[in-house]
């Protein structure tokens, strides 16, 4: 019986598709120019899907020479699902934030607040901007970072 050849492209293509979300989240996000252009992942996904399509095509057209019809189909489905979920996440879910109404604008006074520090004592914005209360070093401003969680 003829030994059919291993169909590398279906695996290789799937690997590229699976790696792309990690590439975006670990590398792209570090560089604003890449971060703000998530569509730059499309060509990479495209290469992965095309390589995979090629592998699948030859598995179906020439099943006597190439393996991978079953695996190729399954990996193809997984790849398309990963591609769709990643884009839904990036372009829809991560962007479903409440609309902005009337927060402080550039040039306006920053609203004061009194919030608990790690020692439980109340700290106001005025305190943060007061050189006398910040350990003697001269204060030229503060960066307020509102964050969601530390994950």
């Amino acid at each position: 019986m003829l030994k059919r050849r291993w169909n590398a492209p279906v695996w290789l293509g799937c690997l590229v598709v699976l790696a792309t979300p990690f590439l975006y989240l670990s590398l792209f996000l570090r560089f604003p120019a890449l971060r703000d252009r998530p569509w730059l992942t499309f060509p990479i996904f495209g290469v992965g899907l095309a390589v995979m399509a090629f592998g699948n095509l030859r598995a179906y057209l020439d099943p006597w020479s190439y393996r991978g019809r079953r695996f190729g189909t399954a990996l193809g489905v997984i790849s398309v699902v990963v591609f769709v979920c990643f884009d839904a996440g990036i372009f829809y879910f991560a962007r479903s934030l409440p609309p902005l109404r009337g927060g402080p604008k550039v040039g306006e006074k920053a609203p004061d607040f009194a919030l608990q520090g790690t020692d439980g004592r109340l700290v106001t914005l005025a305190d943060l901007l007061d050189s006398g209360k910040t350990g003697g070093s001269e204060v030229n401003g503060t960066v307020l970072i509102f964050y969601r969680g530390d994950w």
Partner: protein, 100 residues
């Protein structure tokens, strides 16, 4: 320039986080989302027990208390990089970019 991190977490959680990560800048707790509302950053659908959570944002406030720069991200996964804030401080001539 100082850096202040504000979230809905209680002081204990922030204390734990600072201890684990060795952060030395200020962490403030806004469990009742008071400041968060004042800055129009309430994401009412999020958070535990429907209390609401903050939508991520960064504000640069100068010594007179005036907002000089703000970033209200459109995406949860996109935050200002430290280098971007340093550039803003530099460009606005707010003086030393020494962060403490």
């Amino acid at each position: 320039m100082s850096v202040v991190a504000i979230s809905v977490f209680p002081p204990e959680t922030n204390r734990e986080l600072c201890r684990e990560q060795g952060y030395t800048f200020t962490f403030l707790s806004d469990q009742k989302t008071e400041a968060i509302r004042r800055y129009d950053l309430l994401d009412a659908d999020g958070g535990q027990e429907g209390d609401g959570i903050v939508r991520p944002a960064e504000f640069l406030v100068d010594a007179t208390g005036t907002v000089r720069w703000a970033n209200l991200t459109k995406s949860l996964i996109v935050r200002t990089r430290p280098s971007e804030i340093l550039k803003v401080i530099n460009d606005l001539n707010l003086g030393s970019t020494k962060i403490h």
